[in-house]
């Protein structure tokens, strides 16, 4: 089993308060890998530690090792010579609440391409169309690419965020409860999309939905007791009763 991300003794504090303590795990390539746990168990913090996004929040201190295997080789996330912007492009992220930029639909995708890769004009537009098709949004927005992104519905905004991440051609996608703020239909659409993306990207999904995890997960980890990580076998998490029993014991 090829490893996409190796996490060793990862600890994260916010304002001196430990959120994660000595967490270690190996996330396989492909997936989706689901992270389950109670609220406040550090799932989102663990996810954000992979692409160093915790650093955008005040008084965050991280220690430990995160090694990300990308198409260009292994990247030590917290090594002093690692370019954090490059790491974040290799490891895309979609948040719980769609956070589209206050720009047009097209600019939401083209601006990062232009800023980070100098891609403009027809090349950027082709990449945008490709990403929107991949996120199954092209047919819905092709005639209104210049409209503000905030005018889209919640489900469409979430798929736009996904398209924005995909346009940068990442190796790994981090998804923090991507369906939590969506209605049933929009959530179903995003779930179907994850099913399709699993063959092309390593997907790591934080979720509270047990049934969603049972349906979609290829690998499943449970976070508990501030940093202990338990991997559950397929035979356990595919079986509802077995999963509930194990979670009852762990959480």
């Amino acid at each position: 089993m090829a490893v996409a991300i190796r996490i060793e003794r990862l600890s994260v504090d916010f304002s001196g308060k430990a959120v994660l303590r000595d967490a270690s795990l190996e996330i396989p390539k492909g997936g989706p890998t689901f992270l389950l746990g109670r609220s406040g168990s550090g799932k989102t913090t663990l996810l954000r530690a992979i692409n160093r996004l915790n650093e955008c929040f005040p008084a965050c201190r991280t220690s430990g090792r995160v090694v990300v295997n990308t198409a260009d080789g292994a990247m030590e996330a917290y090594a002093p010579d690692t370019a954090v912007e490059v790491l974040r492009r290799r490891v895309g992220m979609v948040f719980q609440t769609p956070n589209v930029l206050p720009l047009s639909i097209a600019r939401n995708i083209c601006m990062p391409l232009e800023a980070t890769q100098g891609m403009r004009g027809a090349e950027a537009e082709a990449r945008m169309e490709e990403a929107l098709r991949e996120a199954q949004l092209w047919s819905e927005v092709r005639d209104r690419l210049r409209d503000p992104a905030v005018a889209l519905s919640g489900g469409q905004q979430q798929r736009l965020c996904l398209a924005r991440a995909l346009a940068l051609r990442p190796d790994i996608l981090l998804l923090d409860e991507p369906t939590a703020s969506l209605d049933f239909k929009a959530a179903q659409m995003v779930e179907e999309l994850l099913g399709e993306l699993r063959s092309r990207y390593t997907l790591i999904v934080v979720s509270h939905g047990l049934s969603q995890a049972r349906r979609l997960a290829e690998y499943l980890f449970v976070l508990h007791d501030g940093g202990r990580v338990e991997e559950l076998g397929k035979d356990v998490f595919r079986d509802k009763d077995a999963l509930l029993t194990v979670l009852g014991d762990l959480l």
Binding site: L53, C56, V86, M93, P102, A115, A165
Partner: protein
């Protein structure tokens, strides 16, 4: 029986609303009365055949010439040049503080800028008389009391005003875009260039307009440093006189002559200029740029 509480609450809500409404009405009445006062006192000058004298390029009160146009030009030149220095500097400071500079330097820099707001204007003026003016005198010719000296110090004076307005705008925009920008791999400078600056256009325009208004209305700096010659400056090293300094100078030595009466016209022009600045701010706030 209807519960009493909502009624009481309505009454409790009405009192602050009435107080605020009263305060707003008093403020509006005061502004209007200032305008009426200035208009009434400058009316004899404006209607008594002295308008031509007032709108001339010569201030020679002994010869009966009360031209205030050199002061109008002086005010615009000084405010414009001070803003030309202060605005890019303020923008640079804000970009530096909001991610483009190292965090260890950003906080002290911003604290220093905030501290500058509490320094009395006269201190800037006094220090400059002893430090900046001799430098200009030594480097170039003349007395050193010049448009250049006043513009540089006025730029320092308006800098905190402009910085604080731009900073407020940047904070609001960055709160919205910062995490999303980081997640797509934008460096802080790229975030600033591609997101924060374009999305802050309105705040940037408001900062320019308010900063210009602040520079236009300052009295002490031009009075202490600009030399106060009532003529249109030919270069940055020439002396100039602003409307505000002109009012202060004439009021200090005169209170009954025709020259004194012409000051009301100066006051009216300054008042209208301030009104234009505020209307400019309102227009920028109300309009969606881009």
């Amino acid at each position: 029986m209807r519960p009493k509480e909502p009624c009481d609450r309505r009454g409790a809500d009405r009192l602050p609303s009435a107080l605020l409404c009263g305060a707003a009405c008093v403020s509006a009445a005061l502004v209007f009365s200032i305008f009426a006062f200035l208009a009434a006192f400058s009316w004899p000058v404006l209607s008594g055949g002295q308008l031509g004298s007032l709108l001339s390029w010569h201030w020679r009160p002994l010869a009966g010439e009360f031209g205030i146009l050199p002061m109008v030009v002086g005010s615009l030149c000084l405010a414009g040049s001070a803003m030309a220095v202060a605005y890019p500097l303020a923008l640079g400071v804000c970009c530096f503080v909001h991610g483009c500079g190292p965090a260890w330097a950003a906080r002290p820099l911003f604290v220093s800028i905030r501290f500058m707001t509490s320094v009395p204007t006269v201190v800037y003026g006094l220090v400059s008389v002893f430090l900046l003016v001799p430098v200009i005198r030594g480097a170039f010719s003349g007395s050193g009391f010049s448009w250049l000296a006043a513009a540089l110090v006025l730029a320092v004076l308006v800098l905190p005003t402009v910085v604080l307005i731009i900073d407020t705008q940047f904070q609001a925009v960055r709160a919205e875009v910062r995490v999303a920008a980081a997640a797509v791999g934008l460096a802080p400078s790229q975030e600033m260039r591609h997101l924060v600056l374009p999305l802050s256009r309105r705040g940037l325009a408001i900062a320019a307009v308010l900063g210009f208004g602040r520079a236009l209305g300052d009295t002490l700096i031009p009075l202490m440093l600009a030399g106060n010659a009532p003529r249109v400056p030919g270069s940055l090293l020439d002396s100039l006189r602003t409307l505000t300094a002109h009012i202060a100078l004439v009021v200090a030595t005169d209170s009954h002559s025709a020259a004194y009466n012409s000051l009301f016209a100066c006051g009216l022009i300054l008042f209208l200029a301030t009104l234009c600045v505020n209307l400019g701010v309102l227009s920028v706030r109300g309009r969606r740029l881009g």
